[in-house]
C-alpha cells in the first residue's frame, strides 16, 4: 500500500510539474526537450523499481543517485541503455528496439530517446495493468540544458536500470 502511494505520489509529482512545462514549450527543439524525455525515462525506472522494491530506502537511494562524472559520450551511453532496454524487453517477451544509427542532431536525439521511452512504457504497461502512461510524456522541461545534461540523464538511467536488474535478478 505504501508503495502504491509512493508510485502515485511520484506520478502526481510529475503531473504537477507538467503544468509548469507548458509555458516552456518553444517552437525550436532544444536539448531541453531531450533532457525531458530522459527525465521521464528515469521516472518510469523509479516506478518500476518501486514496484519490486522491498525497501523504501533503496528507492530513495535510486532517486538520490548522481550521474557518473566520467560519462561524457552521448553515443556510448545511448548504446549501453539501448542494450539494457532490449534485455528488459526480452525478459517480458516484448519486441526489441529497432536498430538505429547514432543520432547526430537534436531532432534525431529527440526521436531516438522518444522511441526508447515508448518501449519502456510498453514494458510498464506489460508489467502493470493499472499503470497510467500519458503522465510520462509531460513534465517540467529544464532551461538552457546542454548535451552534458542529456548524457548525465542517460547515465542515471543506465545506473537505475542496472540496479533494477540486480534487484529483479535479471
Amino acid at each position: 500500500m505504501l508503495k502504491r502511494l509512493l508510485i502515485v505520489s511520484l506520478a502526481m509529482g510529475l503531473w504537477s510539474a507538467s503544468d509548469n512545462a507548458r509555458a516552456a514549450e518553444t517552437l525550436d527543439l532544444r536539448s531541453d526537450n531531450v533532457v525531458l524525455v530522459w527525465q521521464n525515462i528515469n521516472e518510469i525506472l523509479l516506478v518500476l523499481s518501486a514496484n519490486i522494491a522491498m525497501d523504501d530506502e533503496w528507492i530513495e537511494g535510486l532517486r538520490n543517485l548522481q550521474p557518473d562524472e566520467g560519462a561524457t559520450d552521448f553515443n556510448v551511453e545511448m548504446s549501453a541503455f539501448h542494450e539494457k532496454l532490449n534485455k528488459l524487453l526480452s525478459s517480458s517477451g516484448l519486441d526489441n528496439l529497432p536498430q538505429a544509427t547514432p543520432p547526430e542532431t537534436i531532432s534525431e536525439q529527440y526521436v531516438s530517446s522518444g522511441t526508447m521511452l515508448d518501449h519502456l512504457v510498453y514494458y510498464l504497461i506489460d508489467s502493470d495493468s493499472l499503470a497510467t502512461v500519458a503522465i510520462y510524456y509531460g513534465g517540467e522541461a529544464p532551461q538552457d540544458s546542454s548535451t552534458g545534461d542529456i548524457v548525465a540523464q542517460i547515465n542515471l538511467a543506465n545506473q537505475r536500470i542496472d540496479a533494477f536488474f540486480e534487484e529483479n535478478g535479471l
Binding site: 517552437l27 525550436d28 527543439l29 497510467t132 502512461v133 500519458a134 510524456y137
Partner: protein
C-alpha cells in the same frame, strides 16, 4: 576594298571571326549564368517550399484531423494504452516536423502559424494527461468532454496559412525560375540573332571574297595557265595591273609565259639535236648489232675453246699426276735395282778376289803337293834306309845274343868250376854269377832290342806303306788340285765376266735413275704447266665473261646513246 591585298582582307575576316567567337563565348557565359540563376531558384524551391510542403503534410497527417488525435478519450476509456503511446509518438513527429519547418526559414506569418499549431498540439498532450487522471478517477466521456475543450481552429488556420505561404513561396520560386529561364532564353535568342547576323555578314563577305574578289580573277588566271599548260603561248595574261597578290601572281604567270616561249625555242633546238642524236643512235645500233653478233660468236667460240682447254688441262694434270706417281714408283724400283746391282758387283768382286785367293791357294797346294810327293819319296827312301839299318841292327843283335848265350854258358861252366874249387872258387863263383847275370841281362836287352827292332821294322814297313799311300794321296790331291785350279781359273774368268756385266748393269741402272729423275722433273714441270694452263684457261674464261659483259655494256650504251 578592291585595292586591298588578299592577306589584309583575310586578316579582317579573321578579326571578325574572332570577335564573333568572343561574342558566342560571352553569350554562352551569360546564358550559363542565367541558367545557373534558374537552377539556384529551383534549388531554393526544392530546399524551401518543397520541403516545407513535405513537413507540413507530415504535420497534417500526424494531426489526423477527424482521426487519431480526436480519439484519445476512447483510447483512455478503453484502456488502449498502446494507442496512447502511439498518440504521443505522433505528437513527437509533429514537434520534429514543426522544428524542421522552422529551421528552413520562416517569416512572421509562418512563425505565428507554427506557434498556433504547436499550441494546439501541446493542448492535446496536456489534455490527454488530464483526461487520463479523470478516467482513473472514474469520469465518463461526457464529463471529460465538458471538462476538456480543445479549440482546433488555430491549428487548422495555421496549416492553411502555412499552405498559403508555401504557395506564395512556390510562386515566388517559380517566378524566379521563369524569370531566369526567360532571361536566359532572351539572352540566348538575342545573342543567336546578333551572332547569326554577324556570321551571315561574314559569310556574305566570304562569298564575295571567294567568288568575286578572289575566285573570278583566279579563275581567269587559271584558265590562262591551263591554256599555257596546253602550250598556247599566244594567250594574254589577265589582271597584271592589279596591286594585290593576284596581280603579282599574274605577273609571275607572264614570266612563266615568257619562259615558255624561250623554252619553245630551246625545245625546237633540242628537237633538232634529238633527231640528230636519234639518227646517230640508229646508226650506232646497227653497228652495235653487227658488232654484238660478231663478238658474240667470237666470245662463244672463246668460251668453247676455254672450256676445251680447261678439260684438256684437267686431263693433262691428271696424266701428269699419274706419270709422276709412276715415275716415283720407277725411281724407287731403279734405286732398289741399283742398290741390288751394286751389292751383286761387290759380291762378284769379293767372289773374284776369293777365287783368285783360291787359285793362289790351289797353286800353292799343287806346289806343296809336289813338294810333299818329293818329300814322301825322300822319306820313303829314308824309311827304306831305316828298314835296312834295322835289319842290320837285327843282325848285330843276333850276334850279341849269341855272345850272351855263350857268355852264359861260360858263366855256367865257371860256376860249376867254382863249385868244384870250393872255397877258393867262391869268389870266382860270385864273378861267374855276375857274369851270368850280365849275360842274362844282355840276353834280355837283346830280346828287347830285337823286339824294338822288330817294331821299328814293322813301323818302318807301315811308314813305307803309309808314305806310299800318302804319296798316292798327295798325287791324287795334286791331280785334284790341278783340276780345281783349272776349275777355279774358269770360275775366275766367269766371275770377272759377271763383275764386268754387273758393273755395266750398275752403270745402266744409274743412267736409268738419272733418266727417271729427269722424267720426274719433267712430269712435275708438266703438271705445273698444266695447272698454269688451267688457271690461264679460267682467267681466260673470266676475261671472256668480263669481255662479254663489257661488250654488252658497251652495246647497251651505244644503243641507249
Amino acid at each position: 576594298m578592291t585595292n586591298l591585298k588578299i592577306s589584309t582582307i583575310g586578316t579582317i575576316i579573321s578579326v571578325f571571326l574572332a570577335l564573333s567567337a568572343a561574342a558566342i563565348v560571352s553569350s554562352s557565359f551569360m546564358t550559363l549564368n542565367q541558367v545557373q540563376q534558374a537552377g539556384g531558384a529551383w534549388h531554393d524551391f526544392e530546399e524551401g517550399p518543397s520541403r516545407k510542403s513535405a513537413y507540413l503534410n507530415g504535420v497534417y497527417k500526424a494531426l489526423g484531423f477527424g482521426g487519431m488525435l480526436h480519439q484519445y478519450k476512447d483510447y483512455l476509456l478503453n484502456k488502449e494504452r498502446v494507442q496512447i503511446v502511439s498518440f504521443f509518438g505522433k505528437i513527437r513527429e509533429i514537434r520534429v516536423a514543426l522544428d524542421a519547418y522552422k529551421a528552413i526559414g520562416v517569416n512572421d506569418i509562418e512563425e505565428q502559424a507554427l506557434t498556433d499549431i504547436l499550441g494546439v498540439i501541446t493542448a492535446y498532450a496536456n489534455a490527454i494527461q488530464k483526461a487520463e487522471q479523470m478516467v482513473k478517477q472514474g469520469a465518463t466521456s461526457d464529463e471529460i468532454a465538458r471538462e476538456i475543450l480543445i479549440n482546433d481552429a488555430p491549428a487548422i488556420a495555421g496549416i492553411d496559412v502555412l499552405f498559403a505561404e508555401i504557395d506564395k513561396s512556390r510562386t515566388n520560386s517559380a517566378v524566379r525560375v521563369n524569370t531566369a529561364v526567360e532571361e536566359a532564353s532572351f539572352l540566348s535568342k538575342t545573342s543567336s540573332i546578333v551572332i547569326g547576323l554577324i556570321l551571315m555578314a561574314l559569310l556574305a563577305t566570304m562569298i564575295w571574297f571567294t567568288r568575286w574578289r578572289l575566285g573570278a580573277p583566279l579563275r581567269l588566271l587559271g584558265e590562262t595557265m591551263t591554256q599555257l599548260a596546253r602550250g598556247d603561248t599566244q594567250v594574254e595574261v589577265p589582271a597584271q595591273d592589279k596591286k594585290d597578290e593576284i596581280g603579282e601572281m599574274a605577273r609571275r604567270v607572264q614570266v612563266f609565259k615568257d619562259s615558255m616561249l624561250a623554252n619553245e625555242e630551246m625545245a625546237a633546238q633540242q628537237r633538232q639535236e634529238a633527231e640528230r642524236k636519234e639518227q646517230r643512235r640508229i646508226a650506232l645500233e646497227k653497228v652495235a648489232a653487227g658488232f654484238e653478233g660478231d663478238i658474240s660468236n667470237v666470245l662463244d667460240e672463246l668460251t668453247e675453246m676455254s672450256k676445251l682447254l680447261d678439260n684438256t688441262s684437267s686431263v693433262m694434270t691428271n696424266i701428269a699426276q699419274d706419270a709422276s706417281t709412276k715415275a716415283s714408283s720407277i725411281t724407287t724400283s731403279a734405286q732398289d735395282a741399283s742398290s741390288n746391282v751394286q751389292t751383286v758387283a761387290s759380291a762378284a768382286e769379293e767372289l773374284s778376289s776369293s777365287i783368285q785367293e783360291i787359285a793362289r791357294q790351289v797353286s800353292q797346294s799343287t806346289s806343296t803337293a809336289s813338294n810333299a810327293v818329293t818329300e814322301v819319296e825322300h822319306a820313303n827312301d829314308k824309311v827304306q834306309g831305316l828298314a835296312s839299318a834295322a835289319r842290320s841292327i837285327g843282325d848285330v843283335v843276333a850276334l850279341i845274343t849269341d855272345i850272351a848265350d855263350q857268355t852264359n854258358l861260360l858263366a855256367l861252366n865257371a860256376t860249376i868250376e867254382a863249385a868244384r874249387a870250393g872255397d877258393a872258387g867262391k869268389g870266382f863263383a860270385v864273378v861267374a854269377s855276375e857274369v851270368k847275370n850280365l849275360a842274362n841281362q844282355t840276353t834280355k836287352a837283346t830280346e828287347d832290342i830285337t823286339q824294338q827292332i822288330n817294331g821299328i821294322q814293322n813301323a818302318t814297313n807301315d811308314a813305307v806303306l803309309a808314305i806310299e799311300n800318302i804319296g798316292g794321296t798327295i798325287s791324287n790331291i795334286s791331280e785334284i788340285t790341278s783340276a780345281i785350279a783349272a776349275a777355279v781359273e774358269e770360275q775366275g774368268a766367269a766371275t770377272q765376266e759377271i763383275a764386268r756385266n754387273v758393273e755395266l748393269a750398275s752403270e745402266r741402272t744409274s743412267t736409268v735413275n738419272s733418266d727417271i729423275l729427269d722424267v720426274t722433273y719433267s712430269v712435275d714441270e708438266t703438271g705445273k704447266a698444266a695447272t698454269q694452263v688451267r688457271n690461264a684457261v679460267h682467267a681466260l674464261g673470266d676475261h671472256s665473261n668480263e669481255l662479254k659483259s663489257v661488250v654488252e655494256g658497251f652495246l647497251n650504251n651505244v644503243k641507249s646513246a
